[in-house]
């Protein structure tokens, strides 16, 4: 019985022992709530300085993404499916961005790419006009060109690697996610004012995204349309950013992390910060940035195989306090 009393005492003390050494971080809340917000944009510009759609033909873009990963981490395992009007009413095309559901990233992980698993992409106004495809549980008028976005260097690849399942959006700089505050991860794919009409061998004409590396003029005999989409991803901590102003900028004003070389940002990789105005927003504090201007048009920039058109706009910028503006 004496032994039992001792055990009894231990039983009573055991819970007290554990409760007294409890942690002070709200882990359940941390798990339920998310710090990382994913924003998707279909524009070349990183802000709302986007011009209006200038296209005659399609009026709706059908987008179906099954999930987004970061170097394989399933941090945004949520589906997004929507028909987006080709005007400025939706965040996807007006520069505000649309919100994509996500969980959080791993802290201090170095992410190289975001992987966008795009199930379907299509525009309406294909011809013949009776052309439809199955989208979001119903038949919609238009043409799903996703399966035609296959790997192409100089000819159709034998493996026919689909370039949009997943679409690799390279991360500019690194995501220095620290698990504190609110973070924005922005992924952009240049769709606005970057489309082209293609036709298949069986007589269907359809609108799709222009290939940004190769000039794909006739896919009818081989069944591809290129599929090298211009994209980029980058991240910053909300309210821990500043601005860069270049009053003399006339065309595009561009900024990239100083650890990168501007020569990397050609072909299907676009700079993370691009504006038509004279001020770049959401520049992270504590990250050295290089600033450039260019006077080429969006279409010309996307077709360039060299970065010679980017002219440096003053010395590198290193913001030190949130809200700071650097003039160049």
């Amino acid at each position: 019985m004496k032994k039992n009393k001792l055990l009894l005492l231990m039983l009573i003390l055991l819970p007290l022992m554990f409760t007294s050494s409890c942690g002070d971080e709200p882990l359940i809340t941390e798990l339920v709530e998310n710090r990382v917000k994913v924003i998707l944009k279909g524009t070349f510009e990183s802000d709302d300085s986007v011009p209006a759609w200038s296209v005659s033909g399609p009026s709706v873009f059908y987008l179906d993404i099954s999930e987004i990963r970061a170097d394989g981490d399933k941090f945004a395992n949520y589906r997004y499916v929507d028909s987006i009007l080709l005007d400025e009413s939706n965040g996807f095309f007006n520069g505000q961005g649309l919100n994509y559901d996500s969980d959080d990233l791993f802290i201090d992980e170095k992410y190289e790419n975001l992987e966008l698993y795009i199930r379907k992409m299509g525009f309406d106004n294909a011809s013949p006009s009776a052309t439809t495809f199955y989208f979001n549980d119903k038949d919609v008028p238009g043409y799903d060109f996703n399966l035609k976005q296959i790997y192409l260097e100089s000819g159709p690849d034998e493996d026919e690697t689909n370039l949009v399942f997943p679409l690799l959006a390279p991360v500019a700089g690194s995501i220095n996610y620290d698990g504190k505050g609110e973070w924005i991860v922005e992924a952009r794919v240049v769709i606005k004012n970057n489309i082209k009409k293609y036709s298949t061998s069986d007589g269907i004409s359809f609108w799709a995204i222009d290939d940004n590396i190769n000039d794909v003029s006739n896919e009818s005999s081989v069944g591809y349309i290129g599929g090298n989409l211009a994209s980029i991803a980058y991240a910053y901590k909300k309210d821990y950013t500043g601005t860069i102003t270049v009053p003399s900028a006339t065309g595009f004003l561009v900024a990239i992390p100083a650890e990168d070389d501007i020569t990397e940002y050609v072909g299907a990789k676009i700079p993370p910060y691009v504006t038509r105005s004279t001020q770049l927003k959401n520049i992270p504090v504590g990250v050295q940035m290089k600033v450039y201007t260019t006077n080429l048009s969006q279409a010309d920039i996307l077709k360039q195989s060299s970065s010679a058109h980017y002219s440096p706009a003053g010395a590198d910028v290193l913001l030190t306090v949130p809200g700071e503006n650097a003039n160049r």
Partner: protein, 156 residues
């Protein structure tokens, strides 16, 4: 009535907000129980483990360690009905934050068991667990779990 030791395993369900973030999983644990001078009451100690994953990166692992008081329903029936109330600590580990700590734990439960010989009892248990975090500044949620288990008791 003799002191008992036992093991259990069965499905664990995250409840409320947790249910949107992680999936049900198989949990399990071990326990021992001692008689008290009051015939209908026992005291027990428990340790368990359950890991809830998700389709994405979210995951939570729990190691509850707690003591409880058991009350045997005084009815004459081939099955025993016991109510439980307990408190203790739980080691919580979450992903993708990769953080862990001890939190206070409270539980209430019911066990239904029957004799399967002098040495062994079988039973079913239903436990409701509260991981109490709302005392921490910045916390908006507690963690709630409902565990169901098949139990094997050994009468020592």
């Amino acid at each position: 009535m003799k002191p008992q030791a036992g093991i259990w395993f069965g499905p664990s369900m995250p409840l409320f907000e947790m249910n949107d973030n992680v999936e049900p999983a198989l949990g399990g644990g071990a326990f021992f129980r001692l008689n008290t001078p009051l015939t209908l009451f026992k005291v027990g100690g428990e340790v368990g483990y359950q890991k809830h994953k998700s389709q994405g990166v979210n995951a939570i692992s729990l190691v509850p360690v707690y003591g409880n008081l058991l009350f045997l329903l005084p009815i004459k029936f081939p099955m025993n009905f016991q109510f439980k109330l307990g408190a203790g600590g739980v080691k919580v580990y979450i992903k993708p934050e990769e953080k862990e700590q001890f939190d206070p734990l409270f539980m209430a439960g019911l066990e239904v068991s029957f004799m399967a010989g002098r040495m062994v009892n079988f039973g079913l248990r239903f436990d409701y667990m509260v991981i109490y975090e709302k005392h921490i500044s910045g916390a908006k949620y507690n963690g709630y779990f409902f565990n169901t288990g098949l139990t094997l008791y050994f009468n020592l």
